[in-house]
Structure formats: C-alpha cells, structure tokens
C-alpha cells in the first residue's frame, strides 16, 4: 500500500458519517486525493471499506427485529401436534441425550413435556401453521421463510446474544451491523449505517438486561458502533441545541468556528482539521434531518393504525420502532436493529407470552406488508428472531394452565422475509419435541454467513486485521445456506 492509498483508507475510515468532504476549504485537499466513488455501481456506500461487493446482492439493507430473551419456538412457530400425546410425560433420555442444561433447571428431578396451551391455524397459500398468538403474522405468511432448525452452543443470555450478534460468546468483537457499516457503509452520508432502537415488551418484566456490546464495534473503529435512536429525549444523543440557542445562533457560531478552524488548517497543514470542519457541518445538517426522520406526524392515520402506533403504547414502543425502521431504510440506513425485551419466560409463560406476542404481532406484520406495498421488500431483508429458543419441558411445576420454559439453544426458529429469501417456505425441521434438529441444521454462523451473502458479501472476505489476525463475523466457521434463498 502506498501512502496515497494509506491516506485514503485513513480518511474513508471515518464514517457516521466520516467521509471527508463538503466542508469549506476541502477543495484543495480533495485535489490531492484520488476521487473515491461511493456510487451504487460498486454497491458500497459512504464509509464502506470493501472496494466492491463480492457478488450481485439480493438485499441492500436489513431490518433485524431482535427478540431478546429467547422466544418460545414451541408456543409460537414450531407446530407439533404429536407433542399433545407426551404432555406431562418426562422428556425421554433418548431426546435429551445428555444435553447441557442451564443452572436453573439442571437440578430438577423431573422434566415434564409441555404441549402449547394455544390453538394453531394454517395461513396463506403455503399453509403455514402458526399459533393463535401470531394472527397478523399469519396474514403475511406467504412472504415468510421460516427457519425451524437454528442452533447455537450458548445456553445463557449474555453469551448467546453476544454470540449471535458478534460470532463469539466472549466480549470484544464487532456486531453484524458494525461489520456492515465497516464493509459497505451507509447509503446516505447523512444517515448512520447502523441504527439500534430498544423496547421493553409486556412479557417478562424482569427480563435480561441489554449491553451496548450487542451493537458494539469491538475492535473496529468507533464510528461503526450502532447509533442508538431513543424514543425519549433526543433521538440521537446531544442532537438538540441547548436551551436558549436557536438555529440562527448555532449557524453564526458555526460560521465563526469554521473560519477559525480554517485558519488553523491553513497554518498546520493537517487535513484532520478540514475533516473536523466537515463533521461540524454534518452535525448541523443532522440536527434537521434526524428530527424529520423521527417525526411521525406526516404518516397517514391508516399507516399508524396498521402498525398499532398509539399515544399510550403498551408495547414499550415496538410498533413505533417498526415504523421508524421503515422510515430509516427509506433514507438509506443500511442496518436497523430493534432490540425488544421480555421473552425470557421461565415461569407464567402462558400469561407472559400472550402479552409479549401481542406487542410484536401486529407491528411486525404491518412492517412487512408496508415494505411490500412500497416495493421496498424486494431489496430489504427482514429478520425476526432471538438468541435461542426454549425447552419443551417445563421449568418448575406444570399445572393445568401454567408452566415455564428454560433456555434451549439446540433448536429454535426464526422468521425471515424480503430480499432474496425463499418466501412461503419452511427450512429445516425438528423432532416431535422441538428439541433436536432432524433436518438441515442452521448454525448461527451459517445464518450470519447467509445474511452477508444476501447483501453481496462473501463472509470469508469481509475481514479486519486486529492483533495480527484477520477476524471475520463468522470466525472460522459458517456455510451459506442456499436452501433458504430464492
């Protein structure tokens, strides 16, 4: 690498929105640099480091509706009428196969199987079975690819979420969204590549905490960290000017600041100063563009109603976040991640899951339908899923109308919709106990490899050298799962 390219790399590494340019006085500098194209012809956006995509992408962007805590695939998606016959019976040893259990149930003397206490119905042309908890999702059944054979080695939340997000159970690696920010950047230089939004559902109110690590940049430069958009206060931290400072005042201050910085730039010769001038200008523009993005007052009433956005939400803001996700990808955000808490239902599951599924059913379906109607589903990938599933056996006592389920990583289900997936199909299957996979296992590394593949990226070639080693999202694993792609 010669110095010229080294310099460009250094410059383009700055992102969210880190590209140099646009600022006063950067013209002279720009002439020293080979122009770098951020056009759609390469598929790589602002701040992206790949020189081009590895193959033609199916998806340009992703909305990942992360269901934190581990939704019960057994009660929602993985329909097993045969399980009825085993209700209350101890889980056969031939199924459990000595599988490692969490410390919360490893001491139980009995492992009674629990058939879901919900009705099931078929939906769409594909005849997809879903539990009564997901009626609206049933309405978009033919847009879905249901993966019933996901698995992970992790059996507790912190390592499991860290694992599915970063490819490692231990802290320190970048999340999927950070990798995309680093690899292919944003489609709009005024928008971050990677946005995160948080909500707490009405299920388990003592659900697992989240860590910024789940959307952290790991060893990647800091600008690739997911930018948290918040539902109260400033949507982006420190976005608003302080009380008493209006826009003209801010503009006057910035004019003076730019001029003073430009004097420094001229004197010290350091392009960093020009970059900073540009970043202040970007910040100024964001102060207008972000509130415009988060302002839902322009959305028609029927749209708000279809998502279930209300003034007094009981879903912790999930519906609003779904609608915001659509507005974000419309504006070029590459990767929108919702983190919805409340799925960790160790006890009182029938009651908790009713509330929790009620939070997400309508908005999730509305988002998929809305994207479809706007033509965005063609190149947007939507994912709905958590860090693991739940056990077929009851945690604690099984009574007539109550049970709980512990964590289960050996087999769980997720939903996908949109760009490049095989809509209206189911991939993989589990045994009669939803406990072991019997067909087409999809490890979380395979899943992540597939997501990257859909985005035009070879997961083995999106790497970052750290501590002398080329790291990647899928560590040294991962196979693209052809079977779930169209």
């Amino acid at each position: 690498m010669n110095l010229n390219t080294a310099y460009q790399t250094m410059q383009t590494r700055r992102h969210f929105f880190g590209r140099l340019g646009g600022g006063i006085g950067s013209v002279a500098l720009a002439s020293l640099m080979e122009p770098k194209l951020f056009g759609t012809n390469t598929g790589v956006g602002v701040g992206g480091h790949l020189t081009g995509l590895h193959h033609t992408p199916k998806a340009k962007r992703v909305i990942y509706l992360f269901q934190s805590g581990g939704p019960s695939h057994i009660d929602l998606i993985d329909y097993k009428p045969a399980l009825r016959a085993h209700h209350g019976e101890d889980l056969p040893a031939s199924i459990r196969m000595g599988q490692r259990l969490t410390g919360m149930t490893s001491g139980q003397s009995k492992f009674p199987c629990v058939a879901p206490m919900f009705e099931w119905k078929q939906h769409g042309k594909s005849g997809l079975w879903l539990s009564e908890l997901l009626p609206h999702v049933g309405g978009v059944a033919d847009q879905l690819c249901v993966v019933k054979s996901m698995w992970t080695e992790a059996i507790n939340h912190d390592p499991a979420v860290t694992y599915i997000q970063t490819g490692s159970q231990q802290a320190g690696r970048p999340a999927l969204g950070s990798w995309l920010s680093y690899g292919i950047g944003s489609e709009n230089e005024q928008m971050p590549a990677f946005v995160v939004m948080i909500s707490q559902g009405s299920g388990n109110k003592t659900d697992q905490p989240l860590s910024t690590r789940y959307w952290g940049n790991g060893f990647l430069p800091g600008e690739h960290q997911g930018v948290r958009f918040r539902s109260s206060g400033d949507p982006v931290l420190y976005l608003s000017d302080p009380a008493g400072i209006d826009r003209p005042t801010r503009r006057q201050m910035l004019n003076a600041l730019d001029e003073l910085n430009q004097l420094t730039a001229d004197q010290v010769g350091d392009p960093e100063v020009n970059a900073r001038i540009a970043q202040y200008e970007m910040a100024f523009r964001m102060q207008a563009s972000v509130p415009e993005l988060t302002d839902l007052s322009g959305e028609p009433r029927h749209v708000l109603e279809s998502y279930g956005v209300t003034d007094a939400p009981t879903d912790g803001g999930y519906a609003r976040n779904c609608l915001l996700a659509r507005r974000m990808i419309e504006r070029g955000v590459r990767f929108v991640q919702l983190m919805h808490r409340g799925w960790d239902q160790h006890n009182a599951l029938p009651k908790q899951i009713r509330g929790q599924a009620g939070d997400v059913d309508r908005p999730t379906a509305a988002l998929i339908a809305d994207l479809k109607q706007r033509g965005l589903l063609e190149d947007t990938l939507v994912i709905w899923g958590g860090e693991f599933g739940r056990t077929v056996y009851s945690q604690g006592a099984l009574t007539k109308d109550d049970y709980g389920r512990d964590h289960h990583g050996r087999c769980f289900s997720i939903l996908m919709a949109g760009a490049g997936i095989n809509a209206g199909t189911t991939y993989g299957s589990s045994d009669d106990f939803c406990y072991n996979i019997v067909e087409n296992p999809v490890h979380i590394h395979d899943f992540n490899a597939t997501v990257l593949h859909l985005l035009g990226i070879d997961h083995k070639r999106l790497t970052y050298k750290f501590q002398g080693r080329n790291f990647r999202l899928t560590d040294v694993h991962g196979e693209v799962v052809k079977g779930l792609m169209a």
């Binding site: 010669n2 110095l3 010229n4 080294a6 310099y7 590494r13 700055r14 992102h15 880190g18 002279a28 500098l29 020293l32 410390g103 059996i155 507790n156 912190d158 390592p159 231990q170 707490q200 109110k205 905490p209 989240l210 860590s211 910024t212 690590r213 800091g222 109260s232 206060g233 931290l237 420190y238 608003s240 000017d241 302080p242 009380a243 008493g244 005042t249 801010r250 201050m253 004019n255 003076a256 600041l257 003073l260 910085n261 420094t264 010290v268 010769g269 350091d270 392009p271 960093e272 970059a275 900073r276 970043q279 970007m282 910040a283 964001m286 083995k460 050298k465 501590q467 002398g468 080693r469």
Partner: protein, 1034 residues
Amino acid sequence: MLPSQATLLVWLGAQILIGRGVLGGEGQALLEFNRDIRPILSEQCFTCHGFDTHQRKGQLRLDIRDEALHGGKSGKPAIVSGRPESSELVRRLLTTDPEDLMPPPDSGKSLTAAQRETLRRWVAEGAVYQEHWAFLAPKTPVTPAIRSNSWVRNPIDFFTAARMESLGLTPRPEADRMALIRRLALDLTGLPPTPADVETFVADNDSQAYEHLVRRLLDSPHYGERMAIEWLDAARYADTHGYHIDSARDMTAWRDWVIRAFNDNKPFDQFTVEQLAGDLLAKEKSPIAGSRDADLLVASGFNRNHMINYEGGAIPEEYAAAYVHDRVNATATVWLGLTMACAQCHDHKYDPLTMRDYYSFYAFFNNVPENGLDGRNGNAAPVVRLPTENQASELARLSAKLEEWNHRLASPDAEVDAAQSAWETEHKAQGAAAWTPAEVVELKSDQGTEFRRLDDGSYLATGTAPEKEVYTFTIKPALHQITGIRVEALADDSLPSHGPGRHPNGNIGLSDIRVNGTEALKIKSATADFSQADHAVAQAIDGDDSSAWTILPQSGRNHAAVFVLEQPFLPGTNGGPLTVQLMFHSPYVQHEIGRVRVSLTSTPEPREPSGLPDAVREALAKAAGERTEEQRASVRKYYREEVSPVAREWREQQVALRKQRESIEGKIPTAMVMGDMGSMRETHMLNRGQYDQPGAVVTAATPAALPPLPPGEAPNRLGLARWLVSNQQPLTPRVIVNRYWQMYFGQGLVKSAENLGSQGDLPTHPELLDWLAVEFVRSGWNVKHIQELIVTSATYRQSSAAPREQVVADPENRLLARGPRVRLGAEFIRDMAMSVSGLLNPRIGGESVLPYQPSGLWEELMSREDNDAFTAQKYSQDHGEKLYRRTMYTFVKRTAVHPSLATFDAPDRQVCTVRRPRTNTPLQALALMNDPTYVEASRVLGERLLASSTDDVARVETAFRLVLARAPKAAELAIVRRLLEEQRSHFGTKPEAADKLLRVGERPVGSGVNPAELAAWTVVASTLLNLDEAITKG
C-alpha cells in the same frame, strides 16, 4: 536533495516502507526477509504452511528455510536458492492453472502482481531468511552517523535524523514556547497550562528552561493520573462486572495504587512484579497472613479487573475458565505484545506459539481461589480489606473498650459474685426438679415435617417449614408419676438465625400444648425461661390458636418451658402411653420449633426459671468446690450474661460495642486481589478452548520459543512476573517503550502496539526502538527517565505545522519529520474544558463519580422490576464538586459507557486495550456543542472572561490564552469579535433565551452579571472550546 513536489508523494510513500538498502543483482536494493518477505508469507502462506502442525497442508512449511528448500509431500523443493525458475513455490504462484495456483482461489487469499514479483526476486537473491526481529534480544545500536549534528539534543534524534537525511528530509523547526508548554503540559499531566505558567516559561531565559519545565511537570501529581489512563485501558479497569446485570464493583484502591506508583516513579520491573504477583511477594516477605503488606495485595488486583459473571443459569466452570483466558490474553498483550489468544484453540498460525505453550502460560493464572459466578454485587473473592484511617482508629478504640468489658465480665467482682452464690442456692432450692428425657416411641407431624433424632435426645426438623404444623410425641411413661413436662426449644446452626424456630428470624410460636389428646389432662401452670413481650408462655395453655409463646429477640439461644399438670399422671392407674402435642397454629407462620426436646419429671411443682444450657446445668448439679475450672467459668459466664442485672448491663455495653464494630467493618472498602490456592490446580489443555473438553495435563511454563524461567525461579506467577522483566526476555522492554512512544506521537514506532509478532507492523525505526528498550532496562526500568528522554528530544520539540504536501505524504507522521499533532483522548477533552473554565476539581484518587448523563440511558438497557436487588442499575447523578472531578474518575459501566467518552473513542474496558482508535465524527461535534458539561463549562468560562477585564479585546485575548495558551491573531480576533457582536444583539433582544442558556448546569451563575452579556460570552467560549486546536495537542 529534495525531490520535486510532483513526485514527492509517491517517492516518500515508497521510502517509508523500504528504507535504506544494499543494491542487489537486479540493480535494486536487496530484499530483506523481515521487512519485505515475512509480511507476505505470513499473510498469505503461513496459515497452511507455517508453524501450526494441525493445519499444515502438503507437509510443507515455509517458515523455516531448510524445510522450504526440502519441499513438502510432492518431493519438489519449494525453493531452490537463486533459481526461481526451478522453485515450486514460484511456479505455483505464477501458474494460470487454478488447480495448481497458490494460494488456492477458494481460500479467499490472493497475491498482488507486485507481491509475486517480490517473492520471485527474493528467491533469485538467494532466499535469505531472518528470525522474527522481536524475538531477538535488543542490542544497543550504535547511534548512526549523521551529517548535521547541530539539531540533535539526545540519542533519539540521531536515529530520526539519520532516517530523515537518508530521505533528503529536514526536520521542522522547533515549535514556539507557547506551543511547547501546551504540548508538554497536556502530554505529561493531561491538563492545559495556565496563562501564568505560559508567561513564566516564555519569559524564562535559562538555557535549561525547557528541561526544568519537563521536570516540574513530571513531578506534578497529575502526571500519575495521566500515565494511569493508558494503564487502566490495558488492565481493563472498570467499576462494574461487565456481564449480564453488570452490577458495581470497587477497584478504586487499585486505581489509586497505579496513580501513586507512577507518581513515585516506581521502577517498571517492580511495578510489574507487584501487579502480577503482589500477593505472592507479600507472602514471601511476610508469611503471616494478617501482617501482609496491603499495598502489595492491592497491586495484585491487575488481573482481577476482568469481567465477572453471575448470570443465573450460567455454569461456574465455564466462567472460571473465561477469567483465566482473559488473564492470559491481557498479560501477553500488555507485557509481551503477543496475541496468545490465537493459540487457545490451535497452534498459532504465524508466531511460534503452540497450544501447549498457551496452556502452560494459562497454568500460571489458574490457581486463584475464586468462584466462577461471583459478580452479583460488589467485589468478588478473594479481596483485601482496606480500612480508612478513621475506620482503623475507630476500630482500634472500640477493640480496646471491648477488651475492657470482656475483662470485666471475666474478672471477679465482689458484689456480683456474692449475688451469684445466692442465685445458685436459690436455683437449687427451686428448680432442682429431676428431668428425664422422654422415651419417644413415635414422633409424627401433620404437615410432613421430618425429624432427625440427635444424640442428646432432641429432634431436629428438616425439609420445608410448613406454615402451620402439629408435632405429636408418643412417649413411654417410664416414671412412677409424671408431674410436669418440659419443652425445650434448642438453638442449632442449621436453623435460620440459628433457631430455635424455623422462621427466618429464628422465632418460635407455640400456640398450644395438649397432653393426651382429646381427653386432655389439664395443665395448671406454665413457666418459661424467657417470653417475648405480650407473648407469655401462658398463651400456650389458653386454648386460643391466635396466641402463642414466642421468644424474640432472643433467637439463637436455648429456651425452655415447663408445664405443670393439675393431677399427676400415674402410668399404673392412667395406663397406656402418654401423648404430647405441640401446636403451631398461630398467625405467625413457620414458627415451629426447629430443634425440640421433651422431658418429664416426677418432682412436685417443678419450675423452669431458666433454660439452662446443659453444661451449666451439669455444673450446678455439683457442689461449687467440685466443679472444674471450665465449669466454674461457664457458670459465671452464664450468670453474668443471662441472670445478673448488674452484669447484664456490662453485657449490653459489650454487645453495643460489638455492634458498632460490625457496622464499621461492614463499611470497610475492599479491593479484589489475586491469591493462590495451597497447591497448584491441575491444568489441562482445553480442546478447542472449551472448558468442558480437557485434554493433556500441562505445567506452568513460559512459551518454548522464548527463554525459560531463570534457574531458581518458582514456576508460579511470581516467577513469571520476574521473568517478564528479566534481561533474558526480549519483548517486554520493546513493548513498553513502544507504547510510551505512542502516547506522545499518536502511534508507536511499531504501529500495532498490541502485536509485535510476525503479523504485526514492522518498526519504522527499529534501531531507535531497540536503543530505547536497552536504555529502559539499563536505567533500572526508570519510567520517568524514558518520558523525559522522549519529550526532551529535538524530534519531539519540532513544530507540528508542516506544508500540506508533507502531511498528506506522511499522514501518520511515521518519518517523524514534524512534531506530533494528535487529538486529545476522551478524558482530556473534558478535563481541558473544566480546567480552562475553572470548574475542575483537581482532587486525586478516590471513588468514581457520576457526572451529567442524558437520563434513562442505563434504565433503557436494564430496567427490571427487581433492579433494587442490584447495584449500578439506575443512574443517580452526583452533584456539587463531584460533577467536576477529572474524567478518569467517571464511573465506568461496561455495558453502557458514558456516551461522551465512548464518542471520543474511550474503550468500554471489556477487554484489554493498548491502542485507542482516533475518530472524527459528527457525534463528537454534537457532544462538544450540546452536552451540558460543555455548555456549563462555556458559561463558567464566559463568567471568568467577563470578570477578567472590561475590555472586549483583552477578554478575547484571555480566552485564547486560557484555551490555546497563545494570543489570538488579528484575523482570529476579528472573527471572534464579530461573533460576540452578533450574540450581544441577539441576546439583547431575547432575554428569555439568555436566561435559559445560563441555566444549563448546576453551578450557580455569579451575582450581578448581565444575562445577555454572559450569554453572548458563553457562545464565544463554546466556540473556542469546540476549536480543533482546543481539543488537539499540537
């Protein structure tokens, strides 16, 4: 000679990596293995043809020359020295046949044409190998000859000048004094100089003025804080446990130790040994546990700073292993600059580190008496207790007083002893009932309580305590007549609060006693040794379920009640067995007696004035003269503690003192420390790094490719620590001086400060790196000496301003042909703003603080209904002076680092970090403009400016001197005055806007200030604090 500007870029670019060289046969400089070849082989070939035997393909390795000459499975030599055309390696690189091409197309790797040509040429030149540079011992390099000596100030400069001369570059002139003092102050203390400091330095005519300034700053107590920050990153210091709930811990004592160590200029070898093995060193110095040097124990906390889990359901062994892995990785990165982690699951692919090496290193850290899941709340064992001076003196005072009371309680006292004799006599007269433990035929419970019979005839209840219960004793009446029944409720360690009841508070609640069931024998009277207020023992014979005999607050002690039958029970007449039912039916649930004994007597009118302990009872049964010494003591103790009103008062004093002592002890701060279990835990290699897949046993040892432990060193952490700073080991001094260099120049002489292995970057100035490393060891690992050398060099003193072409040609300043210009670290940006405004609270060390933070940031991530069971879940912002402490004391919550810090690239401290990235983003602009911290600092700075003069120009000058340590230029003055006038007229017509702006931040506005005027100056001050120059060391 300087090349023309047009070619400067390309030419310089090539020079940085190529450097000087000897001309080779093809008319070009000869290639050098470490510089030109190893990086290519390492990146492209070693994965399959390197050190890792398990991954090796075709039995070929290219990292050893003989093996490459010999070739692999194919039998063809990979390399024929000097003959690329006969070398299989070259053929496979150049072939167009995808079957044969190397690296294989599906590997994701590929060589550029230039790299292929380089390898070909290297084979043509004879394929000379070199051992990896960092594994060779550093030798004192001869300072190179240079043409112009006039510029150099110390040996560092010979090396940089030689490099510059070889490229036809000349150093930049020395920076002016104002720039120098700002650079120095920020570099050595992390704080900007005051205008007075600047003025003094500028006016100092002494030829050693600069050197004096350096020494003054090195002696500043803020020097230790500045140096500590880099070390806290490396040590992954934080105020929370990091996993899951992420509750608080307290390692501030360790942080204070680090600051102190730097300020005391503790030699780095000692600094190392104390942090890695302070506990073992303390043991070596003082074998008696209680007298060990607490400072040494605190120091050993370095390797307890890792994250600690407690997630419900997590498996302890898994995390115990994760902690050891973390220690290995941190220690190897911080001292060796090696990526040991790569050898956790397989042999290292690039460096000579086997998996066996990894686990032999792991064994050093695998011996801590810790629990896998101990991160619930507060510090995890092992810890050292660290009473404050006040606590220590208060404890000493209480202990002395307690000793007095203890003595008094144990010593003869005429009055009390006389009363005791009287009591003994009375006791004999009254209670000399002969009690026989009942011969229990059967003991049943209504609600399933199970019993275990103990040797003393008592029964211990086990299993879950039911809410209500009835115990039914069936007793063989062995006496000729039964006049009374004694029920003893006995304390037991297995019971909650030591019993005697089963309720968590230890209380009992006997609602009723029935003798012989439905045709119950009448009970005449009941006496007990003790009854709770309003719960007299009579309530156990009143036939009322809602009332009961209870004993609080005297839980944890034996109690007894005696029930006298109205008519004696005569087995001969009444016949059959006797049943005694104890009813626990009161509203007080789980108040069953946990350990119960029933006795019978034939003595008429028995009473139980006291539930005497067995030992006392036995002693009293003997005449005073016949008692043993022990028995005498137990009677006295019992009498004085339980009976004598006088001695009971003494006793209350004693208890009160004990309580005070316990309360203080509960508040004594602790620090997590290292410890070693008695014998070394067996360490296994872990297949694929998994805790539950143990393989072969290994013992503690240093990596085979590095020197072994010196003879006589124990194979434990102490031996390892001494080895790390021994003369035999080539890496540590290089790694450390490289990171020091990075602190000043923004990057190390080896850019990859975390990795000096073969995949790391090559040093830009290898001889300089070695010279510094050797000098560091030679000076006795003198840390301040190395800082002083670097900052007094002419290299450091250069102006950072340079023609743009030069900056663009060498943006990272790898040629060191200009002074450093580096954006300040996250902590120093905020410190700067607080310092220049006068807000800064300069107190050093102590607790972590919670400054302004947007509300809800923590709560959004972790709100739970049971939050109050944990710490660090809700952000409770501090007030007053704590808002203005140096930023290094801001509470570090690993799962949610303070946003302003994270935005300026402060790491989250989850893992060891030895190099921070430096980004430049709009989020940083937003934080500096809008974070209340900076808005408040701007306003307070505005007040300071207003007070400094009545003249606007003078005020602007003061502002520049405070923030930038220099006067404004005319153009700058004009811009700032324009802004000032704009704001004056704006706020002059918008008093309500001014008012709102001034209310940001908790520091009150001074009285008598014109709000519009102050608002205008606030905007001016904010503008200056946002300047690139303000947040940059230049």
